[in-house]
């Protein structure tokens, strides 16, 4: 067998494997769509998204509380985690001595490797009581603690190690010459980080945040343990909420005798799928634009 033929066969095999894994995305999307299609015969998409009325047994499927809950929790998680992750990673990459890194990175890896159910338990044991007994009394009369805020805090802690390790990697890719250039002009370390390094790495940082967000969207178990799971749109941080993944996890397999119920749950999965897809593609578009602007 000659060299060219071998190359062709190898390339062909690898290409078909690549194609197979990519077509998985399409297949999952198709599957979810087909499974959820029946519900569109009775309700319009707009009706499903905009209605807050969730009573499956009477045929009312309003997804607004779930979509709202997911957005709230993810938003809180990112708002809490982003500044911490940013400052931590600036410290680790720009200020810390090597032996500090040697201790902190393994700790972060452990944090990232803890099973999500453990985070859930930790949330119930610590975060929920703290919210209900310490924080909430300042703002509302009564709160159980099983709330949007608790979900956001737990989720924020969960995406923290991911964000930090991505950020540190991004900062490490900045050439030393660039730091030297800024420092040699008399900039302090903080000025160098703030004015040069953050600016240079902005596209990468955005991409990392997008990645963390799409991870946060799908996080299920830890969040459903602490957020209360009541299908109402939360009006304050101390109200319970019910994110989309929790809806699917809690109900799939049960109550499937209710007409359209499976279809509705599949639609929830389809929403998640679409949101993550949109996030990934739009983040790429943003990165592309920013890279061209700043490089």
């Amino acid at each position: 067998m000659n060299r060219i033929l071998k190359n062709k066969i190898a390339a062909g095999m690898m290409f078909s494997l690549t194609l197979a894994s990519i077509s998985l995305v399409v297949l999952i999307g198709m599957g979810l769509y087909l499974k959820s299609a029946p519900i569109f015969k009775e309700h319009s998409l707009w009706e499903l998204i905009s209605s807050a009325d969730w009573q499956p047994s009477s045929g009312k499927f309003g997804f607004l509380p779930f979509i709202g809950g997911t957005l709230w929790i993810t938003g809180i998680a990112v708002i809490l985690a982003l500044p911490v992750a940013l400052l931590t990673s600036i410290f680790l990459s720009e200020h810390s001595k090597p032996y500090v890194k040697k201790w902190i990175f393994p700790a972060l890896d452990i944090l990232a490797g803890i099973p999500s159910v453990v985070y859930g338990v930790w949330g119930i044991l610590l975060v929920v009581p703290w919210v209900s007994e310490v924080l909430a009394p300042h703002f509302v009369e009564y709160a159980t603690g099983y709330s949007t805020l608790s979900g956001g805090i737990v989720l924020g802690v969960m995406i923290l190690p991911l964000l930090i390790s991505l950020f540190v990697e991004i900062f490490a890719a900045v050439p030393r010459d660039l730091r030297d250039a800024a420092l040699s002009l008399g900039a302090t370390r903080w000025q160098t980080s703030k004015l040069v390094i953050l600016r240079k790495t902005l596209p990468g940082l955005l991409a990392a945040v997008m990645l963390a967000i799409s991870r946060a969207f799908g996080e299920t178990i830890a969040v459903l343990m602490v957020c209360g799971n009541i299908p109402l749109l939360p009006h304050s941080l101390f109200d319970s909420c019910y994110p989309l993944p929790a809806l699917i996890a809690n109900n799939y397999g049960e109550m499937l005798s209710v007409p359209m119920y499976e279809s509705a749950l599949m639609l929830a999965a389809f929403f998640l799928f679409i949101v993550v897809l949109i996030f990934n593609t739009s983040s790429r578009a943003v990165i592309y634009k920013l890279e061209r602007k700043f490089q």
Partner: protein
């Protein structure tokens, strides 16, 4: 070694120029403070990275208003020495040093010395041009803003002045707000020089500043150095002896972390005292 009489056309006779190096009496004081001398003096500098002794008992003095070339084979510590002058070397892992470097009679290793002030006095020009990720205009004003110049009109003046000083103004005046990375590599290096000059340094540290450039761009930079030496003390680390021959006024030859010989260029090139220097130079002349 061939009979070679080297004389740099851009320079006055060294004998009068360098008299101050041997003279403890400082004549410049008699001229008044108007003509302030920039002064850089290294005494007994030893530098280690982990267990490696990189710089060994380095003592030298950099003359003002001259181009000082630090020459020597790769790995002899030239760049390390240069980066020690503005203490950029501090970021290196496992670094230790002793001895002292005096910049305008301030010891830069002293704990009380404000390191940003030292760095402000030394414009750095690295091997590859490294524009900051912003527009041409912002690249120049970056340092000025750090040091508290906020007046827009003043900043615009500085940009024009410095770009003219490096001969870039005509080329970029219509696109000052374009990203600096869009410039050619030679233009980028001149921009970096202008950026360094904008903070009004006393020294220009150039670390093989022309080695990544094409011959025309590097000639341009060399010409700039010759022109700028009337206002600055320029310290140039170079691999290319020819470059040192063309523009050096003062030469420091280093070998394996030691300063073997230092002195006026004419003397070093025509009449080296040390055997090592002679051997190194022969490689270039023959």
């Amino acid at each position: 070694m061939k009979e070679f009489q080297y004389k740099n056309p851009t320079r006055a006779t060294w004998a009068e120029d360098y008299s101050f190096l041997n003279n403890d009496l400082d004549n410049s004081k008699l001229e008044g403070d108007k003509n302030k001398k920039s002064n850089l003096k290294v005494t007994d500098l030893n530098l280690y990275i982990h267990q490696h002794h990189i710089l060994k008992n380095v003592s030298l003095e950099i003359p003002d208003n001259k181009i000082t070339c630090i020459i020597g084979p790769s790995g002899c510590g030239k760049s390390t020495l240069l980066k020690t002058f503005n203490r950029l070397i501090d970021d290196t892992e496992g670094i230790r040093y002793d001895g002292s470097i005096w910049v305008d009679d301030v010891d830069i290793f002293d704990k009380k010395t404000e390191i940003t002030d030292i760095r402000k006095k030394m414009g750095l020009l690295s091997q590859r041009p490294c524009p900051l990720p912003m527009s041409i205009y912002d690249n120049i004003t970056f340092g000025c803003k750090l040091h508290g110049i906020r007046n827009k009109k003043r900043l615009a003046e500085i940009v024009e002045e410095q770009l003219k000083a490096v001969g870039l103004w005509e080329e970029v005046k219509d696109r000052l707000h374009a990203p600096a990375s869009k410039l050619s590599i030679g233009q980028q290096q001149r921009l970096c020089l202008a950026r360094g000059l904008a903070v009004e340094p006393e020294f220009i540290l150039a670390d093989e500043a022309t080695s990544a450039l094409d011959p025309i761009s590097s000639k341009h930079i060399e010409e700039l150095f010759v022109e700028l030496k009337k206002d600055y003390a320029i310290i140039l680390v170079t691999h290319t002896l020819r470059q040192a021959l063309r523009i050096a006024d003062h030469v420091i030859f280093m070998y394996l972390g030691k300063v073997i010989e230092a002195g006026p260029a004419d003397e070093i090139f025509n009449n080296p005292k040390e055997e090592l220097t002679r051997k190194y130079l022969e490689g270039a002349f023959s």
